[in-house]
C-alpha cells in the first residue's frame, strides 16, 4: 500500500511538494518555524545533491549557505540591487564558493573529503570574521531592510508573516522543480552512474572528478539561494551562518530525513526544527537530544525517515 502510494507520489513529486508547502504553516505548532523549514529544507536538499546523489560527505556547506547569505545581504545593502537580483547574486556566490572548495576538495576522496571541506569552510569563516569592514565581522551583517516585494506589478507586503511565507515558499517550490528536472536530466543520469558504481562510470568514459565538481557547484547554487532567502527573512546575516555548526546541522537534517531521496532532506529539516523547538520549550540544551536522536538514526535507521518509508514494501 505505502509502496504503491509512494511510487505514485514520486511521479508527481513537484506537485506534491507544492501542496505540502501550501498547508505547512497551518500544520506547525510554531508558525515561525514554517519559514525556517522552507529555508533549511532547501539547504538540506542542496546538500543532498552531493551527499545523496554523488556520495560526497561535505562538512563545509555552511560556507556555501553563508556565502549566499552575505552576497544577498551585501547586494541589498551596498549595491542597491532589487531583491531578485540580490537573491540571484546569493545563488551565484554559493555556486562560486562551491567551485573553489570543490576543485580543491575533489583532489582527495573518501575520508579526506569531509575533513578538507570542513577546514576550507572554517577558512571562509575566518575570512568573513577578519573582513569586518565589509561583513560586519563578529556582529554580523546588519540593517538589511526589505519591506516590499514587487512581483509582476504586484506589491507584496514582506513584513506580513504569511505573505512572507508564501513568497519564500514560491521561490523554494521553483527551486525544487528545477532540482527535479536536473535529477531527471542526462546529467542526473551521469550523477547516478558515479554514485552507483564509480569504476563502471569511469570505464564508460565519464570524467568522475568533473561530475563531482559540477554536482558540488549545483549544490552550492541551491545552498546559496537558501542562504540568500535567510538573509531576506532575518534581515541580518549572523557570523554563525558560516559556522561549523551550520555545516553539521544540514548533515543531520539530510540524514534524518533520508539521503538520496527527493523529499527526505525536507522531512529531515522539518523533524530537526520541530525537535529543536520542542526541546527549547523546556531546556536550552537542545543539542543533547538532537545528538542522541542523530546517533540513533545512524545506528538504527541509516536510510533516514523518508528513505525507510520508501523502502517499506508489503511482505
Amino acid at each position: 500500500m505505502i509502496a504503491v502510494f509512494l511510487t505514485r507520489a514520486a511521479r508527481h513529486r513537484a506537485l506534491l511538494a507544492a501542496l505540502f508547502l501550501l498547508v505547512l504553516p497551518f500544520l506547525l505548532p510554531f508558525r515561525a518555524t514554517a519559514v525556517n523549514v522552507l529555508i533549511d529544507g532547501l539547504f538540506a536538499v542542496g546538500f543532498n545533491l552531493v551527499y545523496g546523489y554523488v556520495g560526497l560527505l561535505s562538512f563545509g556547506h555552511a560556507a556555501l549557505f553563508g556565502g549566499g547569505a552575505y552576497a544577498t545581504g551585501l547586494a541589498l545593502l551596498r549595491l542597491g540591487l532589487p531583491w531578485y537580483g540580490a537573491l540571484a547574486l546569493g545563488l551565484v556566490a554559493g555556486a562560486g564558493i562551491a567551485g573553489v572548495i570543490g576543485l580543491l576538495a575533489t583532489r582527495t576522496r573518501g575520508i579526506y573529503f569531509a575533513m578538507v571541506t570542513l577546514a576550507l569552510a572554517e577558512c571562509v569563516y575566518y575570512l568573513a570574521y577578519q573582513a569586518s569592514g565589509v561583513t560586519g565581522g563578529e556582529n554580523g551583517l546588519r540593517g538589511i531592510v526589505l519591506t516590499k516585494i514587487d512581483l509582476f506589478g504586484l506589491d507584496l507586503d514582506f513584513v506580513d508573516p504569511l505573505t512572507r511565507y508564501f513568497v519564500i515558499a514560491t521561490i523554494v517550490a521553483l527551486a525544487l522543480a528545477a532540482l527535479s528536472r536536473i535529477l531527471a536530466s542526462p546529467f542526473g543520469a551521469v550523477m547516478e552512474m558515479v554514485r552507483e558504481n564509480e569504476a563502471r562510470a569511469r570505464a564508460s568514459g565519464v570524467d568522475v572528478r568533473a561530475v563531482r565538481v559540477l554536482a558540488f557547484v549545483l549544490s552550492g547554487a541551491f545552498s546559496g539561494l537558501a542562504g540568500g532567502l535567510q538573509a531576506l527573512h532575518l534581515a541580518i546575516v549572523p557570523i554563525e551562518t558560516l559556522d561549523y555548526g551550520n555545516s553539521g546541522m544540514v548533515v543531520m537534517m539530510c540524514l534524518l530525513g533520508g539521503a538520496g531521496t527527493f523529499f527526505g532532506p525536507f522531512i529531515g529539516a522539518l523533524v530537526f526544527l520541530l525537535l529543536q523547538n520542542l526541546v527549547a520549550l523546556v531546556s536550552s540544551h537542545w543539542q543533547l537530544p538532537v545528538g542522541v536522536v542523530f546517533m540513533a538514526c545512524v545506528l538504527f535507521l541509516p536510510r533516514g525517515i523518508w528513505g525507510q518509508l520508501a523502502r517499506w514494501r508489503p511482505a
Partner: protein, 255 residues
Amino acid sequence: MAPGVNEDPAILRTEAVSKSFGRFKALAGISCEFHRGRLTAIIGPNGAGKSTYFNLLSGALAPSGGRILFEGRDITGLAQARFAALGIAKSFQITSIFPELTVHENVRAVLQAREIRLNFWRSRNAYPQFVAAAAALLERVGLGGRARVIAGRLAHGEQRALEIAMALASRPRLLLLDEPTAGMSPEETQAMMILIAGLVPAHTVILVEHKMKLVMGIAERVLVLHHGEVLAIGTPDEIRANDEVRRVYLGQREH
C-alpha cells in the same frame, strides 16, 4: 580513411611489456599483437599473469616496462579514462553494473553518457535514439524481456550478459572480457560463450579465461601465459598440439 585500407591488421600490440610489484615480477616482457575483428583468448594456469596482462591492456595498471600501441598510437601510461575514450571497453572480473537502476537504464546510461553529459534541463527520456539503441543491445545479449527489472535482482548469468551489453553500449573499438563466465552454471556458461562468439567479426574481442576448454571452440587465436611469460601463441589447433602447453596443463583439473 576507409577501414582496412593500408592499415595494420593489428588493432592492439604490446611490445615487451612487463610488470613488477615490488620485487615480484608478475610479467616479463610480453610481446603480442591482436587482430581486428578477431576473438583472441588469453589463457594460462593460476598465477600465470593473465589478470595483470589484462589490467595493462585495459589501462587499469601502467606497465613497468615496454610499450602498448593501440591503432598504431603509443598509449603506454595513459589514464584509464583515456583508454575508455579511445574505445577500449572492458568487463570486470567481478560483476560491475549499476545495481539500483533498471536493466534498460543501465545500458541507456552508458549510451547517453558518451554523447550527452552536460544537459541539466531536458528529460533524460527525451532522446528516443538512446532508448531504441538500448533496447536493441538488450535484445542482442538475450535480455530483451528483462528490460524493466532492477539490475541488482538479475541472476548472475544475466548480470554478466548485461555487462556485455553495457560494454558494447560504449561502442568500443576493442572489447576486453575478464573471465566472463566466472561463477556461472554450465547452462549460463554455454549461453555466454555463444553470445561472445557472435560478437566477431563486428567487434574485436580479447577474452581472458581460466578454463582452457571453454575458449578452444570459439577463439581464433590463443595466447598461453605461464609464469609471466608467453608459453605459446597460435590457432586453437596449434595450441592443442603444443607439447609445452600440454605439460603445463597436465595435472590441472581443467583440460
